[in-house]
């Protein structure tokens, strides 16, 4: 249990997830109110990650349901284990005929089979899928419904029962209520607008690209080896890249990838050639790379000019850089 919003922040940070107060507030409310959270935002800002760390921080089991086109009840909730049912009927042939023995008419025989059919439609033959698992679990769990926007609208409607009452209805077994209220998190990339009914039942959390300070903090947490100044340059550059009109805007995961690649290359400075060489780590489209390259060379020159004007401290830095390069070669 999180006791307060500040506790959420510190507990998540222990798990290596840096978040701001806004995220923490919603997580806290979700726990207190027992409401599902719909997390939206651009790709790669840590929506799924949030669910994972909350599960670890609360020491709950994480049950994940990955949504995709055509996902249906059988895959999400439960399925009758057809082969097993068939196998049992085959094996129990003798018993079946024994029950049927002495039946006077077809109707009576059918009646006898019908009396026994609950054997074959019992929990023994149910394969629980993630939703069912989350509801029937004895321990409190965290249910992550990932990329819910990829699912069909019908599936969304079907989710409503689970989200509002934490119960599911299986025609043959009746309604199953959750033993422990799970924390439910849904993530969406906004590929499709979710229905109002679903949204109404959820708390809404919009995770956007982080602010510069927050991103530096994240970088520090995830890639601790990186030089402070380099991290700062990197993040500020990243922010100006996000301003550009790109097909796929790089997100936090790309920042981390970039930082790691720069580390691997032993780069100590973000100069133009270094940026050009490593740009394909963060941008995934040819057109984007070309566009960014143009803008970035302008930006870097501007920055260099600023640095030169800033005074002796800044002048020292470039003087250092060639030396290190010399060691490398």
């Amino acid at each position: 249990m999180f006791e307060s919003v500040d506790r959420v922040i510190s507990d998540l940070e222990k798990q290596g997830y840096v978040c701001d107060k806004r995220i923490a507030t919603v997580v806290f409310l979700a726990q207190q109110l027992g409401k599902p959270v719909l997390i939206e935002g651009p790709a790669g800002v840590g929506k799924t990650e949030l669910a994972k760390v909350v599960a670890t921080a609360l020491d709950r089991e994480l049950i994940r349901l990955q949504c995709y086109e055509g996902l249906d009840e059988a895959k999400a909730l439960y399925e009758w284990e057809y082969s097993k049912q068939l196998l049992y009927t085959q094996l129990l042939k003798d018993q079946v005929s024994a029950t049927m023995e002495g039946a006077q008419s077809l109707t009576e025989a059918a009646q006898r089979v019908a009396d026994e059919d609950s054997v074959f439609f019992s929990e023994r033959f149910v394969v629980p899928r993630p939703l069912m698992q989350a509801i029937t679990s004895d321990n409190p769990v965290l249910l992550l419904i990932d990329e819910v926007d990829k699912s069909d609208p019908e599936f969304e409607a079907f989710l409503l029962e689970v989200l509002s009452d934490f119960q599911v209805t299986v025609p043959e077994l009746g309604t199953i209520k959750a033993k422990q209220t799970p924390i439910v998190m849904l993530t969406s990339n906004d590929a499709r607008e979710m229905s109002d009914a679903l949204k109404r039942r959820c708390l809404h959390l919009w995770i956007d690209y982080p602010s510069q300070e927050l991103e530096i903090k994240i970088l520090d947490q995830k890639v601790p080896e990186i030089d402070k100044r380099l991290a700062q340059d990197l993040v500020s550059l990243m922010h100006s890249i996000r301003e550009l009109d790109l097909k796929k805007v790089p997100s936090i995961s790309e920042t981390l990838d970039w930082a790691r690649s720069l580390l691997a290359l032993n780069a100590s400075d973000l100069d133009e050639s270094m940026v050009t060489d490593t740009l394909n780590v963060i941008l995934k489209y040819e057109g984007d790379i070309n566009k960014a390259q143009k803008e970035l060379s302008k930006l870097l020159q501007q920055k260099a000019a600023e640095a030169a004007a800033a005074g002796p401290q800044a002048v020292e830095a470039p003087a250092e850089a060639p030396k290190k390069k010399g060691v490398l070669h």
């Binding site: 507030t25 806290f28 055509g70 082969s83 068939l86 906004d190 109002d196 949204k199 109404r200």
Partner: protein, 472 residues
């Protein structure tokens, strides 16, 4: 407080953010869990419970700031200023306040101070805030309509708070204190300070009134803007609107893609295939362990788009082209053509260039046609019939965008008939209203028999409607 939250909810609704009653209740539940002293927490709690759409967040932020913010802060700032003035004059405020409190205690009962005067003396900001809000309610500040009324309503609010009376009471109090042995310097300092505070309060009231005006206007403006964009004709759009429109069009195309993919998926789930099931389960002695389903043939829609890019419909074509471009990103079986009197294919152009240059290029004819001629639909259809009829099969939907103003040329409606015979659907989107079809040089009525759907399409709302009818 509750009332304020409900009022804020109404404000959100007025500006087009849908907040259900259940969501309003959720907001209260959330506030119960949190301390509302923390502004950020308060804001986050309201947002996460009431605003469920990413694109509504900016509007929420703006409204929140207008409605909640600054008020308490500006009050504090105003008082801080008064205090700072005192400090600049080398007067210890705490000392002064202490003396004042003692003096009042000594006199106990002799002075009967109004609520406002007391709040001023103790600098009780939240009490003052409540008083201002109440007085503003009484004065009807919520009905403010324009800038000229700001003075009127702020005056009424301050009057409602009893500012005059409080000023006199305070003056009396100071006089009594003086008589009671306070040094004249101290008394003067006190007077200055209380005066500054009252002045600050007046300013705050005025700010409050101005903000109220802004909130009222915000509702109106925001709603207006939103309605405008979907209703406004493509013919009269400003630069900024074109930019905003682009996003909307893109989303529309995205939606079509989603709908189509879902429909395809649904068709894939077929019936039980008894033949294959039996065959597959021979090894199990004919007991059907593995069940095979028939897969229905996937219906992959093909799209052929013919877009008029003549200058008479230039603005409309811009959107149609953008729509085409977005569609092409979503489908791979799509061919795009532009025409004025010649007709040329721009599919490869759309594939390679980015959206803006592709559109500009296509409007210039895209190196395939000459745009500086007069529209000739007949000739364009004839060329299509002659050169590209093979692009059409019985799964193809042909989408034609144009005003059918043929400049009295031969309409060659038989070409469209041929196209119609081969295609699954012919959809015509015309930026002119149906009442104008067939008048003047419009030959729309000649083409009408060979279209399955012909719709007026002059703004985004109509475009969305047509798109729905095509894909669903």
């Amino acid at each position: 407080m509750q009332e304020k939250v409900v009022e804020f909810t109404n404000l959100l609704r007025k500006s087009g953010i849908r907040v259900s009653v259940a969501e309003g209740i959720n907001a209260f539940e959330a506030l119960d869990e949190l301390s509302i002293d923390d502004r950020e927490l308060f804001k986050d709690a309201l947002r996460s419970t009431m605003v469920k759409r990413g694109d509504e967040i900016p509007a929420f932020d703006q409204l929140f700031d207008l409605y909640w913010s600054g008020f308490y802060d500006s009050l504090r700032d105003a008082f801080g200023e008064a205090n700072a003035q005192m400090a600049a004059m080398d007067i210890d405020i705490d000392e002064l306040m202490k003396a004042l409190a003692e003096a009042i205690e000594q006199m106990d009962g002799d002075v009967d101070l109004s609520e406002l005067a007391q709040a001023l003396l103790t600098q009780d900001l939240s009490a003052l805030e409540n008083m201002i809000r109440d007085a503003a309610d009484q004065a009807g500040t919520g009905n403010i309509e324009n800038m000229l009324q700001v003075g009127f309503f702020s005056r009424r609010t301050t009057e409602g708070m009893g500012m005059e009376g409080a000023g006199q009471e305070l003056e009396q109090l100071i006089q009594q204190l003086e008589e009671g042995g306070m040094s004249p310097e101290d008394a003067q300092a006190l007077r200055d300070m209380l005066g500054a505070m009252q002045e600050g309060l007046r300013k705050v009231v005025r700010n409050f009134t101005e903000r109220e005006l802004q909130t009222q206007n915000h509702d109106y403006m925001e709603k207006f803007r939103r309605e405008m964009l979907t209703e406004k004709s493509f013919y009269h759009l400003t630069e900024e609107e074109i930019a905003r429109m682009r996003e909307v069009v893109h989303r529309l195309a995205q939606r079509i893609k989603n709908i189509l993919s879902i429909r395809r998926k649904r068709q894939k789930r077929g019936k039980l295939d008894i033949h294959s099931t039996l065959r597959r389960n021979m090894a199990m002695g004919g007991v059907p362990f593995n069940v095979i389903y028939k897969h229905r043939r996937k219906d992959r829609p093909k799209l052929v788009i013919l877009c008029d890019v003549s200058s008479s419909v230039a603005n409309v074509s811009r959107f149609m082209l953008q729509f085409m471009y977005s569609l092409q990103e979503a489908f791979n079986r799509i061919r795009c053509f532009v025409f004025v009197s010649d007709l040329g294919e721009v599919t490869p152009l759309f594939k390679d260039a980015d959206v803006n240059s592709a559109i500009e290029n296509a409007l210039d004819g895209g190196d395939v046609i000459n745009v500086y001629t007069r529209s000739n639909f007949g000739l364009a259809f004839h060329i299509f019939w002659r050169d590209y009829l093979a692009a059409i099969d019985k799964k193809t939907t042909v989408l034609i965008l144009g005003d059918a103003r043929n400049n009295y040329n031969d309409d060659k409606a038989w070409c469209l008939r041929e196209i119609h015979n081969k295609a699954k659907n012919v959809v015509w989107l015309n930026p002119e209203s149906p009442s104008a079809w067939g008048f003047g040089d419009s030959v729309m009525n000649r083409y009408l028999p060979y279209t399955d759907i012909a719709e007026e399409c002059r703004n985004l709302r109509q475009l969305a409607k047509v798109v729905d009818s095509i894909v669903l």
